[in-house]
């Protein structure tokens, strides 16, 4: 038996609404799925392109990595070192690139402190270990040279003799220096 036209139309509309309710939540959650993107930097006249870039990637104890580019020659790397067992851990954190014809130099230092006074924080560049923070003692800075048309990968190195049961925030500054300002 044929349905009255109004009833058939209403049924069709209801089916469409049901289909919409079935599909819409999944489209919404696809939209809510976050992506990974480098932070937007405005192109400002007079500000040089940055030569410091974040390596990114995953590590068991190194989380929430950020590279904050303060101006044309200063980049600040920050991360959270989570609770960890005693031992030494490292991870590539930033790449220092030099596409010019002259050697570039970077001052690498930290203005932060560590809660765990027995831990050591440093960087590894070309298999050389540079300690930045040893317990409560800050090393003023280290100079890292990058040859023309090359790049170096900087590794974060964290060493602790005992188990650390809390998270710690760290930051490392990379300041590009010219020969005159050294």
């Amino acid at each position: 038996m044929n349905q009255p036209p109004i009833k058939a139309t209403l049924n069709s509309v209801t089916i469409l609404i049901i289909a919409f309710i079935a599909v819409m939540p999944f489209l919404t959650i696809i939209n809510l799925t976050p992506e990974t993107r480098q932070e937007f930097r405005p192109h400002v006249l007079g500000v040089q392109a940055q030569n410091v870039s974040l390596v990114d990637g995953q590590h068991e104890y190194i989380r929430n990595e950020k590279l904050d580019i303060k101006d044309s020659n200063l980049a600040i790397y920050s991360a959270v070192i989570t609770a960890r067992n005693s031992g030494t851990y490292s991870k590539p954190i930033v790449t220092l690139a030099n596409d010019s014809n002259t050697t570039k130099k970077y001052k690498v230092f930290t203005t932060g402190t560590l809660k765990s006074t027995t831990s050591k924080l440093g960087v590894i560049v070309n298999e050389t270990n540079y300690i930045l923070l040893s317990g409560e003692e800050n090393t003023p800075y280290h100079m890292i040279s990058v040859k023309p048309s090359s790049s170096v990968e900087v590794y974060l190195r964290i060493e602790n003799s005992f188990h650390i049961s809390y998270d710690e925030s760290i930051s490392i500054d990379f300041l590009e220096v010219s020969d005159q300002t050294q």
Binding site: F26, L32, P34, N64
Partner: protein, 182 residues
Amino acid sequence: MSKLLLSILKRALLPAALVIVGKAAGLYFAIKIFDLNLLVDNDIHGIFTTQFYFTSTADTLLANSISNSFMFLILLIGTLIFLIRANLRISANSNSETLVKIVKLNLLDWITEKDNFLLNLGIWIFFLMGTGVTTLRDSLINVNYDWAAFATLGITIVTLGFTVNTFERKINQVYPRDLNET
């Protein structure tokens, strides 16, 4: 208007809303607990004009895995409630001992409520499978932990198996098999 369609429409609203709320709440909790930095952009391309992003892959992976798992957990709890209620009702109809146990445990309200458990179960399992597929998609595009996606998929398949079994039990109850049939 068809009563069945209207009934589906009414019952689908809650799980559809919970999918969206679960995803958004999971993302919010992940950001708050792990102190992540979520950024919002408004690129005009594709279907959506608002995008959420993190600046590191590890953060995206962590936040999205938590939000997907939280959304899945909410849907799973709802589905299990209807699965248990439907099975209890089917068992109570065919077995007086089960009915006595239900009365002793004061769970009669659970099975005597004037509601269509099987229809609800069918709707909830549809949304549960949807979240399972979405999680698998996220894992394939590397924004969800693989182990979490496989666990989600495994639980979905097991729940689907129990749901099919529940429907079979109900069908057997309504149209009993010939006892002489082997």
